[in-house]
C-alpha cells in the first residue's frame, strides 16, 4: 500500500509538471521604457464572430470591438453604426472603472480576449504604457496629433502623458471641479455661500450655530482622485510622471502645499464642520440628496448623478458655483474623466484608431453624451458654443450651469498620475483616513505615505526623482 501511494503521488507530480511545460511559464515580455506598443495588426475579418452587447444590423461590415461603461452607450453605438458603412462598433460593458480594468489585466495576462478599443480613465492611463506593460497603441501614427486643438488643454495633456508627441488615447469627458450647494439651506440659516476655503470653514460653523442639523460638506478619505485634486488646487503636485522620462517618477506628499490642505481638512473634521464619510456609496448619495450636507464639492459629473437619485423633494433648491479657492491664483482643477484607447490586441489597428478618434465626432452623439450619459464634454467647440452655455437645467432651478462649469474645463491644465495609480490610491486612502478620522499627525503621516510609495516604486524598478 505504502509503495503504491508513493508511486501515485509521483505520477500526479509528473502530470502536473508536464502540463506546465506544455503551456509555458511566465516569461519576460516586452522591452523597457514607455512608448506605444509596437504591435500593429490589420486583420479585418478577425472580429466577424465577436459577441456584442449591441445589435449590429449591417452584415458583412468589418467590426471593431469596444469596451466602455458610459451610460446610454448603446444608443450612441447604434447611431455610430447607422452613420458608418465601412466599420461597425461591437460594444460590451465589461465592467465599470476598476472592474473593467480587471478585465483588461485578465486579457493582457491571457494575451487574448482584449477589446480593440477600451475606455480608460486619465488617472490609470500611464499604467498601460509604462515598463513592460505597453498595451496601448500610439495614435499619433494615425494622425491623432492634429486633433490636439479640438480638446481642452488639460485632457490632452493627460492622454499624451505630459504633452509629448505620443498620444495614447482620445479624450471623451472630464470632471471640472465645482461646488453644488443647497441654496435653500444657506438662505434658511442666513449664511453666505462660500467662495474661498476660509469662507467655507466659517460658513460651516455659522450654519451649525444657526441651528442646521447637518454639515456644510464632507471630506471623503477614500475619494482617490478627488483628494489629489484638492491638493492640486493648492498647487501641490503629489504625483509626477511623464512619457518623456518613462523610467522615472516622483511622489511628493511632504510639500508645504499638501500639508496645508490635509491640515485644513483635519481641522474641519475635528471641529465637526465636515463629516468624513466614504465617497460614492449609496449612503453618500443619500446624504447628498436628503440635505445632510449643504454642499458637495466635486467633479461636474456628480451633477447628473445626483439628479438620478433625487426624489421629488420640492424644497431642495440646488445651485452650482465655482469650487472654493485658496486665493486668486488657485488653478482650475479637474477630477476624473475618461478616454478611448486602442490596444495592442486590436485586430485591425488602423480601423480601431479610426473608431477611437471618430466615435464622438458627431454632433448627435455628442448631444446624447451630454444630455443622457451625463458626460461633461472635452470638445472645445462645444464648450465654447452658446447653445451649450445656454442650456438650462430644471433640477438646478433653470440655472445655466454650464456657464459656471465650462470655464473651469477650459482653464484646466492637467496633471500627472503614477504608473501604479490603483496601488497609490489604496495607500493614500489608508493614510488620509487616519488623518481626518483619527487625528494622526499630518507631517509624519504624509512622510510615511511618501516613503511607502517611493519604496514601492523602487521595488518596481523605477528611479525616484527627489
Amino acid at each position: 500500500m505504502k509503495k503504491s501511494a508513493r508511486i501515485a503521488s509521483a505520477c500526479i507530480a509528473c502530470l502536473a509538471m508536464l502540463s506546465f511545460s506544455a503551456c509555458g511559464g511566465p516569461g519576460p515580455q516586452g522591452g523597457k521604457g514607455a512608448g506605444g506598443a509596437e504591435q500593429i495588426h490589420s486583420d479585418a475579418k478577425a472580429n466577424d464572430d465577436a459577441k456584442c452587447q449591441n445589435t449590429i444590423k449591417k452584415k458583412g461590415v468589418e467590426k471593431v470591438t469596444v469596451w466602455a461603461w458610459y451610460p446610454a452607450m448603446e444608443k450612441m453605438v447604434d447611431r455610430f453604426n447607422d452613420q458608418h458603412d465601412d466599420v461597425q462598433v461591437c460594444w460590451t460593458r465589461a465592467g465599470s472603472g476598476q472592474t473593467q480594468y480587471q478585465k483588461i489585466t485578465t486579457a493582457v495576462k491571457a494575451k487574448s480576449g482584449l477589446a480593440d478599443v477600451v475606455q480608460i480613465e486619465y488617472d490609470v492611463l500611464s499604467q498601460y504604457v509604462s515598463g513592460v506593460e505597453k498595451h496601448l497603441v500610439d495614435l499619433n501614427q494615425f494622425g491623432a496629433g492634429k486633433l490636439a486643438g479640438q480638446y481642452t488643454k488639460g485632457v490632452w495633456n493627460s492622454v499624451s502623458l505630459g504633452g509629448g508627441k505620443s498620444i495614447y488615447a482620445i479624450p471623451v469627458d472630464q470632471g471640472p471641479f465645482v461646488m453644488m450647494y443647497r441654496k435653500d439651506i444657506f438662505d434658511k440659516y442666513g449664511v453666505k455661500v462660500p467662495t474661498t476655503w476660509q469662507e467655507y470653514e466659517q460658513a460651516g460653523k455659522e450654519l451649525r450655530q444657526n441651528g442646521f442639523q447637518g454639515h456644510i460638506g464632507n471630506y471623503e478619505p477614500s475619494g482617490n482622485g478627488s483628494n489629489v485634486t484638492l491638493i492640486a488646487q493648492n498647487k501641490g503636485k503629489v504625483y509626477d510622471y511623464s512619457a518623456s522620462e518613462p523610467d522615472k517618477l516622483g511622489v511628493d506628499f511632504t510639500s508645504k502645499q499638501s500639508q496645508e490642505v490635509m491640515e485644513y481638512w483635519q481641522k474641519l473634521a475635528k471641529e465637526g464642520v465636515v463629516t468624513t464619510d466614504d465617497a460614492y456609496t449609496a449612503e453618500w448619495y443619500k446624504k447628498i440628496v436628503d440635505g445632510s450636507w449643504a454642499t458637495a464639492v466635486c467633479a461636474s459629473w456628480l451633477v447628473g448623478n445626483v439628479r438620478g437619485v433625487s426624489g421629488a423633494d420640492s424644497s431642495a433648491d440646488w445651485k452650482i458655483s465655482k469650487a472654493p479657492v485658496w486665493d486668486s491664483s488657485t488653478p482650475s482643477v479637474n477630477f476624473g474623466g475618461s478616454s478611448l484607447a486602442v490596444t495592442d490586441q486590436a485586430k485591425d489597428t488602423k480601423k480601431a484608431a479610426k473608431v477611437a478618434m471618430e466615435f464622438f465626432d458627431d454632433p448627435a452623439i455628442q448631444q446624447t453624451a451630454i444630455t443622457e450619459s451625463g458626460l461633461f464634454p472635452t470638445w472645445t467647440k462645444v464648450l465654447n458654443s452658446d447653445r451649450f452655455k445656454n442650456m438650462t437645467d430644471p433640477f438646478y432651478g433653470d440655472q445655466k450651469i454650464n456657464e459656471v462649469i465650462a470655464p473651469v474645463a477650459l482653464a484646466y491644465k492637467g496633471y500627472d498620475y503614477l504608473p501604479f495609480q490603483p496601488y497609490a490610491y489604496d495607500e493614500q486612502t489608508k493614510v488620509f483616513t487616519e488623518i481626518v478620522r483619527n487625528g494622526a499627525d499630518v507631517p509624519s503621516s504624509l512622510r510615511s505615505l511618501n516613503k511607502t510609495l517611493t519604496d514601492y516604486a523602487t521595488q518596481q524598478g523605477f528611479t525616484v526623482r527627489r
Binding site: M1, A5, A8, E74, A94, G113, W301, G311
Partner: protein
C-alpha cells in the same frame, strides 16, 4: 401561546410550560432576526430609486408609490433585458454543475466505499485533504491556467471547476459504507449481474437520499458561485446573477459615468432569490435525509 404548548409532553406541567414559554420567546426573537432582512428586501423591491433614497415611511415599510411592477418592467428592458439572461445562466450553471458534480461524486464515493484497489488509501486521504483547501485560493491559479488554453470567457470556465466536489464524494462514501451491505452486492454478483448492473439497479436506488442531498448541496454551491465567474468571465451575457447584480452595484457606486440603478438591484435581488427559496422550502424534507444518514452512521 401557552394554550398551544399544552399538548406537548406533559410530565411536570409547571416546569415544562415555563421553559417552553422561554423557548417560544427565543423562537419569536430568532424568527424576527432571520426574517426581517428578507422583509426589508421585499419592501425595498417595491420602491423606485427616489423612493429608496428619500421615500416616505422609512426603510421597513412601503413607499407611497408602489413601483414593483415598474421595476420588473425595467429589469426586462434595461441593457436589453440582460437580467433574465443572468438568471437563466445561473439556473443553467446550477443545474448542469449540480448534475455533473453529483454524478462524479456518486461514482467516486461508491468506488471508494465498495472496491479495494491499489492506492485507495492514499487517494482517499488526498481527497480528505482537498476538503480543506480553500477553493477561493485556487481561483487565480485556475484562471491563469485557463487563459493559457483560451478557456476563459466560456461557460466551461464556470462549469468544469464546479464539477469538483470532494465533500460530495466524502458524503457518498460514508453513505455507501453505512447503507450498502456487501452481502447484498455479493448476492447480485452471484445472480450474475455485472458491476455496472449492480451499481445501477441495486446500489443507486438505495443511495437516493444521499444523492438528493449531494445534488442540492452542489446546486446551492454553483448558485452561490461568485469569485470564480467574476474572474474568468468578461462577456456580460455569460454572467450568473451574482456577478451581474454585483456589477450593477459597482456601477451605481462608481463616481464618473455611474448610473444609479439601486431599484434594479433590490428588485432584481428579490426576483432572483425566489426560485431557490421556494425549491428549498418545499424540498427540505428530501435533502436533509442524506446529510444525517451520513453523519450519524459514520
Amino acid at each position: 401561546m401557552s394554550a398551544r404548548t399544552s399538548h406537548a409532553r406533559v410530565v411536570d406541567g409547571g416546569r415544562i410550560r415555563g421553559s417552553h414559554r422561554l423557548a417560544y420567546v427565543l423562537l419569536i426573537i430568532c424568527c424576527i432576526y432571520f426574517l426581517f432582512p428578507v422583509w426589508w428586501l421585499l419592501v425595498a423591491a417595491t420602491k423606485s430609486n427616489a423612493g429608496l433614497f428619500s421615500g416616505a415611511h422609512g426603510p421597513m415599510w412601503f413607499d407611497k408609490d408602489f413601483a414593483l411592477w415598474d421595476n420588473i418592467r425595467q429589469l426586462s428592458t434595461y441593457e436589453g433585458g440582460i437580467y433574465w439572461r443572468w438568471l437563466l445562466n445561473s439556473l443553467l450553471y446550477a443545474v448542469l454543475g449540480g448534475i455533473g458534480a453529483t454524478a462524479i461524486s456518486v461514482m467516486a464515493g461508491y468506488g471508494f466505499a465498495k472496491f479495494r484497489f491499489h492506492g485507495r488509501k492514499f487517494y482517499f486521504n488526498v481527497v480528505l485533504g482537498a476538503l480543506m483547501i480553500p477553493t477561493t485560493a485556487l481561483v487565480i491559479p485556475t484562471f491563469i491556467l485557463m487563459s493559457q488554453f483560451g478557456m476563459t470567457d466560456t461557460i466551461w470556465a464556470v462549469l468544469l471547476p464546479s464539477l469538483l466536489s470532494p465533500f460530495g464524494t466524502y458524503l457518498m462514501r460514508i453513505y455507501c459504507m453505512g447503507s450498502l451491505p456487501d452481502e447484498m452486492m455479493e448476492a447480485a454478483r452471484v445472480d450474475g449481474a455485472g458491476e455496472l448492473r449492480t451499481f445501477f439497479q441495486v446500489s443507486l436506488p438505495i443511495m437516493t437520499p444521499a444523492i438528493t442531498t449531494v445534488f442540492l448541496l452542489s446546486v446551492v454551491g454553483c448558485w452561490n458561485n461568485f469569485f470564480l465567474p467574476s474572474v474568468v468571465l468578461s462577456d456580460t451575457k455569460l454572467f450568473p446573477i451574482t456577478v451581474g447584480l454585483t456589477q450593477w452595484q459597482v456601477k451605481s457606486n462608481a463616481g464618473a459615468g455611474s448610473e444609479q440603478v439601486w431599484n434594479l438591484i433590490t428588485s432584481g435581488a428579490l426576483v432572483s432569490v425566489i426560485p431557490l427559496v421556494l425549491a428549498f422550502l418545499f424540498l427540505q424534507r428530501y435533502w436533509v435525509g442524506g446529510l444525517t444518514a451520513g453523519s450519524v452512521k459514520a
